[in-house]
């Protein structure tokens, strides 16, 4: 059980890091322009 909890936490941290890296990558690589047509 202890091993499961440690492993679970490790997996989730890895997932969070991977998602953060992908979000940062999108932020840097993408170049869409956005606006508010009805504002």
């Amino acid at each position: 059980m202890k091993y499961f909890l440690i492993n679970l936490r490790k997996e989730h941290i890895e997932l969070a890091i991977a998602i953060t890296i992908l979000v940062l990558f999108i932020l840097g690589a993408g170049a869409p322009a956005s606006g508010c047509n009805s504002c």
């Binding site: 997932l15 991977a18 999108i26 932020l27 840097g28 690589a29 170049a31 956005s34 047509n37």
Partner: protein, 189 residues
């Protein structure tokens, strides 16, 4: 930018709920620090007002330098399909940005689509983004610039072909991440 992050959220959710379609068992991310170092100058230059004013003259150098570093990051992951899609998208964006002075060109028509009340001049920057207003006929490889209008309610976005590749690659990678996050715990339960 939110429109590019949305496919990622959908990908993770789909991966968690329907992991059976994921052929790749794990996602290996090498040199993650490279992404952080490459993107930080962009965040400062485009999203933080104080730095934005200071960095205005060198924005094109920051954008091209940062995206070139991100292209190297992709080079390190060329064997993974999702990264290839993102790399093609980044390459297309970087190509049109580099050919047109270092910022993403957007036509008057598309600028008007985003802000109908605005009056746009050649060389004007749009909002806090990376876009610069140019006449359509002066844009080199104009079809790679921001030319695809998307409307979601009152939120309006103009995307490039490269952005669509990036969004597709992000969805793919997020799906693998979501799918694998459910598999590994099952082994130890």
């Amino acid at each position: 930018m939110y429109l590019l992050i949305l496919p990622m959220i959908l990908g993770v959710m789909l991966g968690i709920t329907s992991p059976q379609f994921a052929q790749q068992r794990s996602l290996s991310i090498k040199k993650p620090w490279l992404v952080v170092i490459a993107v930080l100058p962009q965040i400062a230059a485009f999203y933080i007002p104080i730095f934005r004013e200071i960095s205005a003259p060198v924005m094109p150098i920051i954008l091209v330098g940062s995206q070139t570093a991100l292209l190297y990051f992709i080079w390190c992951h060329w064997e993974q399909r999702g990264f290839v899609l993102m790399g093609v998208g980044l390459g297309l964006n970087l190509l049109v940005i580099s050919l047109n002075g270092g910022l993403m060109p957007i036509s008057y028509e598309m600028a008007q689509f985003l802000f109908p009340e605005g009056e746009w001049m050649q060389g004007q920057l749009i909002g806090t983004g990376k876009d610069i207003v140019m006449r359509q006929e002066t844009i080199l490889l104009g079809f790679l610039s921001d030319t695809i209008p998307v409307a979601i309610g009152s939120y309006y976005v103009v995307m490039s072909i490269g952005d669509i590749f990036i969004a597709t690659g992000a969805f793919w990678l997020a799906y693998i991440l979501g799918a694998n996050s459910t598999r590994k715990e099952l082994v130890y339960v």
